[in-house]
């Protein structure tokens, strides 16, 4: 009896499992403005959610693992190599799932996990599979305390004749046995969930952990990360590959600095995620935020700001030189020189000296 897995990258699961109060449109617009890729493809503490999910499937020695993705550009970089993983690019993910399940069935793989990568669940996959096999149903949906999850076990042969979207959507409604997940679950619906995931990892609330080496309890440093001796990192925190934390900077409260970032002198990063390739300028106070290149999302106020001054925030490769508009500068200089001109002050009012009053 074979077992496979389909890991799907894309926004197609929102209608299937959305269970949050916040509207999917708001999340999608924030996600689109702040991030270049879907949330599940963004590296958190060194690796993306997609990679972490793939590792979980690879760990149970499945016969085949397929990653279905809407476009090539969405495939995130992987740090580890997983066996039996193949990628398939398709604009119609539901059709791609059906075709993959059909392929699996032909190969003798009878059951498959279907997992939208935006949902990361640390459940015992073999226990979930056993539950599905005993229930003898086409689809076994999963859920946790917050509602349904984008993780199913599907009988490849039984699922084939049905449109996959209908099948998965109906699974929770029509009442087949559902599998309850008590373990750690992270849904990536909003950039806030990135922060939550980083915080959970750094606090050790989930089995997956930050990449790199734990140089002192709770402080993870990845390859070639540098921290100036006058900088302070308060555990737990993660500093990614090739990142630099300069003098007098403070990284604190479960913050994660991803790869190729720079936190410049004196800047405080508190309860924040600095995503890859971001440079944060000097003497700033970054709190409760997710930052990527020159975009800053404040999670307390739910405000997304684009910062144009590269001295404050910029992509690592971007130029730091800031050239203000020349005309504006000249105007300001003229105003300053006008102010600096010595004024003619009269000691006393004299007839004939006040030009405004006496006209010849």
């Amino acid at each position: 009896m074979g077992l496979g897995a389909l890991v799907v990258i894309g926004a197609g699961n929102r209608g299937l499992t959305q269970s949050r109060v916040q509207s999917p449109e708001v999340s999608a617009s924030l996600e689109g403005s702040l991030l270049a890729a879907p949330l599940e493809c963004v590296e958190v503490a060194g690796r993306s959610l997609v990679e972490r999910s793939l590792e979980r499937f690879a760990a149970v020695n499945l016969e085949a693992i397929s990653v279905l993705v809407e476009s090539d550009a969405l495939i995130p970089p992987f740090r580890t190599h997983c066996r039996n993983v193949k990628f398939r690019v398709s604009s119609d993910l539901n059709m791609a799932i059906r075709e993959e399940l059909s392929d699996y069935s032909r190969q003798g793989i009878e059951h498959a996990f279907v997992n939208w990568a935006s949902t990361y669940a640390e459940t015992d996959l073999l226990d979930l599979f056993s539950f599905h096999r005993e229930a003898r149903q086409a689809v076994t949906p999963t859920f946790d305390q917050h509602g349904p999850l984008a993780l199913w076990v599907v009988d490849c042969a039984k699922a084939q004749p049905l449109p996959i979207e209908k099948l998965l959507r109906a699974a929770g409604v029509n009442g087949p046995s559902e599998y309850f997940i008590r373990e750690h679950v992270n849904r990536q619906d909003h950039p806030r969930d990135l922060r939550q995931f980083a915080s959970d990892m750094l606090r050790g609330r989930c089995r997956t952990g930050p990449c790199g080496r734990e140089v002192r309890p709770g402080v993870w440093l990845d390859e070639n990360a540098e921290i100036h001796r006058r900088a302070r990192v308060v555990a737990p925190a993660y500093i990614g590959c090739d990142s630099k934390v300069r003098a007098d900077a403070l990284i604190t409260r479960f913050s994660n600095i991803e790869r190729e970032c720079c936190i410049d002198c004196g800047t405080v990063v508190e309860d924040s995620s600095v995503l890859a390739n971001t440079s944060v300028g000097i003497w700033l106070d970054l709190c409760h935020a997710v930052v990527r290149e020159n975009m800053l999302l404040n999670l307390e106020r739910e405000i997304l700001i684009e910062i144009l001054d590269p001295r404050v925030l910029r992509a690592t490769g971007a130029s730091r030189k800031f050239v203000p508009k020349i005309r504006e500068t000249q105007e300001v200089l003229k105003q300053i020189s006008d102010l600096q001109q010595p004024r003619q002050v009269l000691n006393a009012w004299q007839l004939g000296n006040n030009n405004n009053l006496i006209q010849e």
Partner: protein, 134 residues
């Protein structure tokens, strides 16, 4: 004062005002001047803390960091925590529920010595080593 391995645990007085801080610092200063001072300040007895107390904590942290050491706080009462939070000092310290937990956090790893002007840590391992280690 208690010494637990390389870590020194000191209990802060009930009142952390100017007068108390002075006498407490007299006791603590020689320890701060040692190489790599690992200090845990037990805050369980604190009833009152003013700006002198906060300044003392910052001074101790600065001195410890200068010598590649660290200073951690344990058993911070809610009242003290509020003061530290209001002054935005809390984020500088690692805070533990008990002194034992704070001591244990010191004993797992210790940073390697680096030359002045160099970052105190630059990961020497390759990715393959990291994978093997994990």
């Amino acid at each position: 004062m208690q010494t637990r391995g390389p870590v020194i645990v000191m209990e802060l007085p009930e009142k952390l005002n100017h007068a108390e801080v002075k006498s407490f610092l007299n006791e603590l200063q020689p320890l701060l001047e040692e190489d790599r001072p690992y200090i845990v300040l037990d805050c369980s007895q604190i009833q009152y803390m003013d700006s002198a107390g906060v300044e003392m904590l910052l001074h101790c942290l600065e001195e410890a960091m200068k010598r590649d050491g660290d200073l951690k706080l344990a058993a911070v009462s809610p009242a003290s925590a509020v003061i530290l939070e209001l002054m935005r000092v809390d984020r500088l310290f690692e805070v533990f529920e008990t002194a034992d937990q704070a001591v244990r956090s010191f004993q797992v790893f210790a940073p390697e010595t680096t030359a002045e002007g160099q970052p105190w840590y630059a990961a020497p391992q390759g990715l393959a080593d990291l994978k093997a280690a994990s």
